[in-house]
Symmetry: C2
Subunit: 179 residues, 2 copies
């Protein structure tokens, strides 16, 4: 249906960070994004917090989360189709929604940002776990809403065992094939 | 936040067709899209029917329509940002949602595909008016749900008074500035 517009010979790809709140998705995605911008390739950064700010009506029910992730994934796939590298960071807790996005994309690189719930709770950078445990937030991933771990992610980084630098290096090493 | 990736010196733009069901949005958008593909510019076609097929959970309440149009518009604006011309056809009945999209885009060209309700009812290409009037479809634009006409569209084509060829020419003449 749509005309391809690869402006590079190198293929674009969608680098999709998934994991619990506080696992380090956005931090790592921001770092990798900054690094990739130096390549001069067209690139787009999509992040859960900023997309939810743009679409405040998005709730946290399974239906709302699924619809949100699928639509963001569709956008990522169309950008990829036109030669834009996409760096996306979303909790995206449900396997089926992530696999929906994977199927839309040509080169989908799933990065499982793995940190234990205990670690994320302790970090609690945004104070969300505290609120959730106080009952002020419902359907919180890892507490009263499930996180379905990726079964075959392209990359796993264990941010409670390795440094941010190490995690970043693991990701950059993997995506060299597209650069 | 995002790196610009204009691959052409010519600016991209978002050509947004709005109007009643049966007014001729998709027909005209398909024609203009085909013509534009000959330019070799990167281009994306977004259509109401195919997007709703991809996201079947999208309903027809005001909230659902608004969310749908805003998200599609966001996608259009990101594609435009990366130098992709977007040809979009959606009933998009609410002014506020269309203006939301306009503000996101750099070059937003609103095409009001204007045909009277009477004409659209008579055409009824998809048999939807018949179903709506039989009460089998609720919240149908123009019947029990409003269509808010654009107040300052860049282009108006009156498909009940001019031929498809004439309408197509009106649109192509306008967008020459971007080609």
């Amino acid at each position: 249906m749509n005309k391809t517009s690869q402006t590079n010979e190198k293929p674009a790809f969608v680098l999709w960070f998934t994991g619990l709140s506080g696992a380090g998705k956005s931090t790592l995605a921001d770092r990798v994004y900054e690094r990739l911008t130096q390549s001069g390739r067209p690139i787009e950064r999509l992040d859960g917090d900023s997309l939810r700010a743009a679409f405040p009506a998005t709730g946290f029910s399974r239906k709302d989360r699924d619809e949100h992730i699928k639509r963001v994934g569709y956008m990522a796939s169309r950008l990829e189709h036109h030669g834009v590298i996409v760096v996306a960071s979303f909790i995206s807790p449900y396997r089926e929604a992530r696999d929906f996005v994977r199927k839309l994309c040509r080169n989908f690189v799933e990065v499982y940002v793995d940190a234990s719930l205990e670690t994320c709770r302790k970090r609690d950078v945004k104070g969300l776990y505290k609120k959730a445990m106080a009952g002020q937030i419902q359907s919180f991933t890892g507490l009263d809403d499930p996180y379905e771990e990726p079964q075959h992610p392209e990359i796993i980084v264990k941010t409670d065992q390795q440094s941010i630098d190490q995690s970043e290096k693991t990701i950059l090493d993997y995506i060299q094939r597209y650069l």
